[in-house]
């Protein structure tokens, strides 16, 4: 989610007419009064060429050629992530991804680091709920070296016991830091409320307890099951020829046999229910607010219309929340809403952060905007503005080879029709106010929103009551347990909870 440094959206500056005498043009007296200038002649933006091929073993390879800078970027996407985590072992996919470049069957973690750093390359691994990735960037003269490294890391990670311990320690310490980050806590809790115990609701980073439970065998099994060529997409982007790209892919991945994929069984998300959870941190000076609901998966036919509806609520180029909360009232640095339409389900969540004293006011305004979106038909003008942005911004989204590759990889990953890439602007322009109203009424249920507030509960609870929110659960931040159905853990007996070095999270292991 892009954060804006400065304001967007119109504001009601009518408010200031009273002081307009003091609205001095700062310096130039004879400046002309005029309308914005006309545009120059437009040049049509077309999606740059790319090529998609599938190897005999099922590996999909996408090549985007670009010769301005002498670099090549290789991205391997694996269709596996935290949804594949085993029961009680949240964090397997994240830990496995972190370990991919920490040693293979033929090279140690140190040798891999020495090699990529010395050639002036970069290497990154990671995972989300539905995918994992390895990304390698090298200068063009190291293309083959980079491809060899990529294949080694993807196909033959060692998952050595000492590296597992090291990464667990890093992950556990990071969780300890994350707990002090209101954005992390609010995000993790809203996911739990929206998705329940569906894997999208569980923390992909794991918890100290689930991390401790993960074994080398779990990691090896996860890798063997999911890291197979017919479950992967490779993007090769940059200063190589198409022939070089496909030949290299064939050379390092062609001999890797396909394997049968086991279908995934996952629990459903609960139906939307109004639930307000306050995570209490008495030291907080600001309250993190998240308001959300179950939405739609990426391949839903309603995706485009609903995406526009959520953008009108709180997205780039529109954003009622930003106007109401920031421009008109100065309650926050930023307010936004985001549609996360994922592979198997989706959500939409509005977020803001406001000082403790204005928590009730901000929450009321946010929930009211959900109601307005459902109740009132958007004007053609407001929709047109949002469409103009979304359609007009197309040339900005194809500037760099990585931008281009991301769009192609997205379409392939979500198994959407590949023609969609070229017709984006036209499809955006076809959405009508009636479409927006239909999807808003179907998916936005203001009386069944999940709400999370992270902040100083004692200071803002009376405000909530004043603006009509009377039922909520308060969970002290030290008792939060994301794996528990109640979100609470039993209070520890006897342990000091404020020991600075051996903190409570580690002491439990």
């Amino acid at each position: 989610m892009t954060r804006l440094r400065s304001g967007i959206g119109p504001t009601s500056w009518i408010l200031c007419l009273a002081v307009c005498a003091s609205v001095a043009g700062a310096q130039t007296v004879d400046w002309p009064s005029e309308r914005p200038p006309r545009p120059l002649e437009a040049r049509r933006a077309t999606f740059p060429p790319y090529e998609v091929r599938t190897l005999a073993n099922g590996l999909q390879v996408i090549a985007v050629l670009h010769h301005e800078q002498p670099a090549v970027n290789m991205r391997m996407l694996v269709r596996a992530g935290s949804v594949q985590d085993l029961q009680g072992k949240a964090g397997v996919a994240t830990l496995a991804a972190a370990l991919l470049d920490q040693g293979t069957t033929s090279k140690s973690a140190e040798q891999i680091a020495d090699q990529i750093d010395f050639i002036g390359g970069a290497l990154g691994t990671g995972s989300g709920s539905d995918l994992s990735f390895v990304e390698v960037v090298v200068m063009k003269d190291s293309f083959n070296v980079g491809m060899d490294m990529l294949a080694d890391i993807v196909r033959r990670p060692a998952f050595a016991p000492e590296e597992i311990e090291r990464q667990k320690e890093q992950a556990t310490s990071s969780l300890q830091v994350n707990r002090e980050d209101p954005a992390y806590v609010a995000g993790a809790v809203i996911d739990r409320l929206v998705y329940g115990l569906h894997p999208y609701g569980l923390p992909s980073t794991g918890t100290p307890e689930t991390l401790a439970a993960i074994t080398q065998a779990d990691l090896q099994a996860y890798h063997a099951r999911n890291f197979v060529p017919n479950n992967m997409i490779l993007g090769i982007v940059g200063d190589v020829s198409g022939d070089e790209a496909f030949a290299a892919a064939e050379r390092v991945f062609g001999g890797w046999p396909a394997a049968e994929l086991t279908p995934l069984r996952i629990v459903d998300s609960p139906p939307p229910t109004r639930r307000i959870v306050i995570i209490d941190n008495p030291d907080a000076v600001q309250t993190g607010i998240r308001v959300g609901q179950l939405g739609i998966p990426r391949n839903s036919p309603d995706y485009l219309a609903f995406d526009l509806a959520v953008k009108i609520l709180g997205g780039e180029g529109a954003n009622r929340l930003q106007r109401v909360l920031r421009s008109e009232r100065g309650l926050t640095y930023g307010a936004s809403a985001d549609l996360a339409a994922r592979k198997r389900a989706g959500d939409f969540v509005a977020e803001t952060d406001t000082r403790t004293e204005t928590t009730g006011e901000a929450l009321r305004l946010m929930v009211d905007e959900f109601s307005t979106l459902r109740r009132e038909r958007v004007s053609q003008r407001e929709l047109s503005d949002a469409q103009a942005y979304l359609a007009g911004t197309f040339p900005l989204t194809i500037e760099t080879p990585n931008d281009i590759a991301t769009q192609v990889l997205n379409v392939v990953f979500y198994e959407l029709p590949i023609e969609e890439i070229g017709t984006f602007s036209e499809r955006v322009q076809q959405v009508t106010p009636g479409d927006i109203q239909r999807v808003a009424q179907r998916y936005v249920l203001p009386d069944r929103l999940s709400i999370v507030l992270v902040g100083n509960a004692a200071a803002f609870v009376p405000q909530l009551r004043r603006v009509g929110f009377s039922e909520f659960e308060i969970i002290p931040i030290d008792e939060l347990d994301l794996m528990s159905a109640t979100l609470r853990r039993p209070v520890l007996q006897g342990g000091s909870t404020d020991a600075p070095v051996d903190g409570p999270l580690l002491a439990r292991q």
Partner: protein, 455 residues
């Protein structure tokens, strides 16, 4: 300041004879295996003093326009910290022909993006939009440069927004206040002592008179560099710039440039403070020269040797091997005025801040006593070449390099000219600058402990 294209004359300082001979033999003519392309541009100054840099790139029908005002938080006066950034927000509050918030919505309405940011040295406004809308971008920027609306109610609201920004980015984030604490400890008189976001008290004290005065003083053509990169014809673009920005009147007084200098430290400075953070942070810092100083290039190479990549010294030794730090880095903050080189260790549970301090200081001592290997220098140069290439991908990236060279170095040719300097930096240079700056009397040591942990 424009002497940055001459190579650092460092090989004379041959402290370790064997090392330096090796360095000369093996490293003097190093070239990156894949030379990066040069930027193509032209630079012009309009009669009102405004500088214009134009760089055509027709690969995509878009254009990026940035406006750099050479004013940042180091130009703030006592008691008004945070004002340059607060003022940046006010630039979105309308002008003679543009409604409040109209700048961003007009740009969004044609499919463009716009925003702004403030640093210690500059305030930058930018927009990227489909290229046919270049006139709109220039017209909008000219309107607010010449006729900013200054409105009390909008000012009051925006001040609350900035206070929320401070709470969000600085006060609510673990380690969000770390750099604030480092700079407050390390600096005495130079305004780098203060964070760009400012203090709550100073934000509260700012007035609408300050807004008018700041605009009149710093938002004038001779303090402004406009950079346009993308799909346009240079002659046509220059005509448009002249038409819209050329009519902004010249300033009536010179832009103030005097900034208090930081006195040299005479002895080590130490501090222990407490914050509500989960793990201790230990910082070891040294004062260093400005960006573009001959010593800044070896210092940048030193940053890479210490913390770029998993094989870099601090990461390999302190994070990977000894498991002393959850994360660690050490880097020079090379900006317009002399600043700091600092290393940070976020201390792992079960490890002590004292051990972390000793380990960080030891790494600096090793740079002085043993120097660095030729292989490390070559690695750092390859990483530099990578950064150089990867950071010139988009129009915005290119505009950033061009404007930075013109404004901070007062020499646009450094946008390309520094590549060869980095490629000819040697292990001897790295050791020499380590010995110049990483000394006890120039050192600041800071322990930030979780609340209640102070002995």
């Amino acid at each position: 300041m424009s002497d940055t294209t001459s190579p650092p004359v460092s090989l004379r300082v041959a402290v370790c004879a064997v090392m330096s001979v090796l360095a000369l033999v093996m490293l003097a003519p190093v070239q990156a295996a894949v030379p990066p392309p040069k930027l193509q541009y032209q630079i012009t100054t309009l009669p009102n003093g405004l500088r214009v840099i134009l760089s055509e790139d027709h690969s995509t029908p878009i254009v990026h326009v940035s406006v750099w005002y050479h004013v940042g938080s180091k130009n703030e006066r006592e008691g008004r910290t945070g004002f340059a950034h607060l003022f940046e927000h006010m630039m979105f509050k309308g002008s003679k022909n543009v409604e409040p918030e109209g700048h961003i919505s007009l740009v969004a309405g044609v499919g463009g993006r716009s925003n702004a940011y403030t640093t210690e040295d500059v305030t930058v406004f930018w927009q990227t939009l489909p290229s046919q809308h270049l006139p709109l971008a220039l017209w909008l920027e000219a309107d607010r440069m010449a006729t900013l609306r200054v409105d009390e109610a909008a000012f009051q609201r925006e001040r609350e927004v900035v206070k929320e920004e401070r709470r969000l980015r600085i006060e609510s984030q673990p380690y969000g206040r770390l750099s604030e604490i480092i700079y407050d400890t390390a600096f005495v008189t130079h305004p780098y002592k203060h964070p760009t976001i400012g203090s709550m008290a100073d934000l509260e004290a700012a007035s609408i008179a300050d807004v008018r005065d700041f605009h009149r003083t710093y938002y004038v053509p001779e303090n402004t560099t406009v950079t346009i990169v993308g799909d346009f014809d240079s002659a046509e673009a220059l005509q448009l710039v002249t038409q819209y920005l050329g009519r902004v009147p010249k300033a009536t007084r010179p832009v103030p440039r005097e900034i208090p200098r930081e006195p040299q430290m005479m002895e080590e400075r130490r501090a222990v403070v407490e914050e509500a953070w989960p793990l201790p942070a230990v910082v070891v810092a040294f004062h260093i020269p400005y960006d573009g100083h001959p010593d800044s290039y070896p210092l940048h190479i030193t940053s890479k040797i210490l913390s770029d990549g998993q094989s870099a010294r601090l990461i390999r030794e302190l994070v990977y091997t000894r498991r002393l730090c959850l994360s660690a880095f050490g880097a020079g903050n090379l900006i317009e005025d002399p600043n700091l080189f600092y290393a940070v260790c976020i201390v792992q549970p079960g490890q002590s801040p004292e051990a972390a301090e000793a380990a960080l200081i030891d790494e600096f001592e090793k740079l002085k006593d043993e120097g660095v290997t030729l292989q490390e220098v070559e690695r750092a140069q390859n990483q530099f070449a990578r950064d150089y290439i990867l950071s010139r991908g988009s129009n915005e990236d290119k505009a950033m390099h061009l404007a930075h060279a013109a404004v901070i170095h007062s020499d646009v040719t450094t946008a390309d000219g520094e590549f060869d300097i980095f490629m000819s930096t040697t292990a001897v240079d790295v050791q020499r600058v380590a010995r110049s700056y990483f000394n006890e009397s120039n050192r600041v040591v800071l322990h930030v402990l979780p609340r209640g942990a102070r002995p």
